[in-house]
Symmetry: C2
Subunit: 339 residues, 2 copies
């Protein structure tokens, strides 16, 4: 991003009626938003959370507390506006766009649903690759295409989210593959499995890594062999947003796995990423450090869908409004402090 | 608060289309809001941040980076809508009410300004008591009166804020008096003073405590001798909100000193308090622990005014909307998980 714009934004913030730097991270959000967009008076009105849905063959190994049928059931819940992400996006004035990039269900064309299906779910990565390299690229291209369409529509800020029963399992597999950490160090309870199920989940991921041998220096290889279609689409949305100079707010654990793939493919994208929140899932911190992102919220969320992204967008927008709407010392006739 | 209502709220949350507990602190906010108000479908629309303004005689000791004249100047900035709290309250849909409880300036009656002046600032506590006990009580009653008026108007949630050049100094004095910690352990840079000024500020507070000998078992004595008029009014607002079963969101360091006085006077008020954010000021953590409140945000804010309270209100409201607006598993036809 543009260092001159960063400095210009901070200079403008420093004239506002407040002690220097006293609005902390709100000032950081404003500064980065300006540097990303190249606009000292950036618009924030139009915000979209993309909730990518996909299924996972590895669910047949019993890694999740929920049956696979919940993925399409939740897609219908999103379309009716009844899910957590709908409630929180309405609250912060964001639109939710639901994208079927890989659900194992044939949806009828429905308003609000983008059907861009690459496959009817991934294959079971405990037994072989989850996707072909071509499928992984196609799913990335779905995300890039949506970012481009959003840019053309004048959207100010993009958010990521996902729905896919079992998708903490490929996320942990991606982290283990890229970090070289043990599976145990980066695998947690997902939606709420017990100790025995957690041990089983760890063994399934270990098996998947042993069977597929993903190459950590080749992020596409990791994504294809042990990732997911919605994770690939998130990586694509991040790549597209960065190419278009748009801020992109990544949700929790699974979205961060997608953003990690994007930033391994092209480290420049890191500058366009806002991390919505600290996830309860272990392994999240490694990814955030690798991406260089400091989470905005810590509300112990572990739902996904884009819920954290929807909330964080509201706080980023608040920071931009500080830049745009606050009076300066001169305008307000307020004496400046002596530091 | 009502334990039965807490349980009822959680039972309602547990039927929503999400893994149990997966919305973390948003669920806590909803649960507590229900228990405080006694309403399973609580309204959150009407929110007010009260920004209490007062001056401090101790400023003549040179404890602040800003001159005392900034207090009335900032009051005019609030009334014109140009200050940080105005921007953030507009963003989250809260109203700002500015209260002159102790500014050393004669305001003309102005729309949006509540003139409830107890004195034209406190006296210099480095040389004697900041207030008489009667003045401290009168300022507390200002806050109680405003909480009662808000209750009558059907306000759903109250927030605290303040403006008073020099007011981190009495706040640190209050903490030192109540905690028994050294002044150095609970005194920080306020709006941004340098090392030499910080050492001086610490000496001034030490002198004030030595001169006044506030009794830690008598919170009113501490408040009157080394506190402030706006801090007293905040204590009153917290007491009034709790008595009226209304949630009250306390802002940062100075507001928390007010809430600490309230909770030392009546420990029951703790259950009605939401702590908006982790302040950069040292000493804040002691107060939060004593009140038993876990801050909602950590955005490195140190402006005051009610800026953090305005933002946190938006997140608390988000939690209540989860309770009210999310679909249940039954409504959405979604299969529940097996835990």
């Amino acid at each position: 991003v543009d260092a001159v714009m960063l400095a210009k934004a901070q200079a403008k913030l420093d004239k506002k009626t407040k002690p220097l730097g006293s609005l902390g991270r709100l000032e950081e959000f404003a500064r980065r938003f300006v540097a990303i967009t190249g606009d000292l008076q950036p618009d924030t009105a139009k915000k979209i959370v993309f909730t990518f849905a996909g299924d996972h063959g590895v669910v047949e190994e019993g890694v999740s507390a929920f049956p696979k049928e919940v993925t399409p059931q939740m897609v219908f819940n999103f379309l009716r506006g009844g899910a957590g992400v709908n409630v929180l996006a309405r609250h912060t004035g964001a639109e939710v766009r639901v994208v079927d990039v890989g659900v194992d269900f044939d949806f009828e064309p429905t308003p609000g649903l983008i059907i861009d299906k690459v496959a009817k779910g991934t294959r079971n990565f405990a037994k072989g690759p989850a996707m072909s390299r071509e499928e992984a690229i196609a799913a990335i291209e779905v995300g890039i295409g949506l970012a481009n369409r959003a840019k053309a529509e004048g959207v100010a800020m993009l958010g990521t989210g996902e729905m896919g029963i079992g998708n903490t399992t490929p996320s942990s597999a991606i982290i283990a593959a890229i970090s070289g950490k043990t599976v145990k160090e980066v695998t947690h309870r997902g939606t709420g499995i017990n100790d025995a199920a957690l041990s089983h989940k760890i063994r399934v991921i270990e098996q998947g890594l042993a069977v597929n041998k993903p190459d950590p220096r080749d992020p596409l290889d990791v994504l294809a062999k042990v990732g997911g279609l919605e994770i690939a689409a998130i990586a694509g949305l991040v790549l597209g947003a960065a190419a278009n100079r748009q801020p992109v707010v990544i949700d929790g654990f699974i979205s961060t796995a997608g953003a990690l793939i994007a930033s391994e493919l092209n480290p420049h994208v890191k500058e366009y990423i806002f991390a919505a929140h600290e996830s309860v899932e272990i392994g999240h911190r490694f990814m955030l450090d690798r991406i260089g992102a400091e989470p905005i919220l810590d509300l112990k969320l572990r739902l996904g869908e884009g819920t954290g992204a929807a909330l964080a967008m509201g706080l980023i927008e608040a920071g931009v409004k500080i830049l745009k709407e606050m009076a300066t010392f001169e305008e307000a006739g307020v004496a400046e402090g002596e530091y």
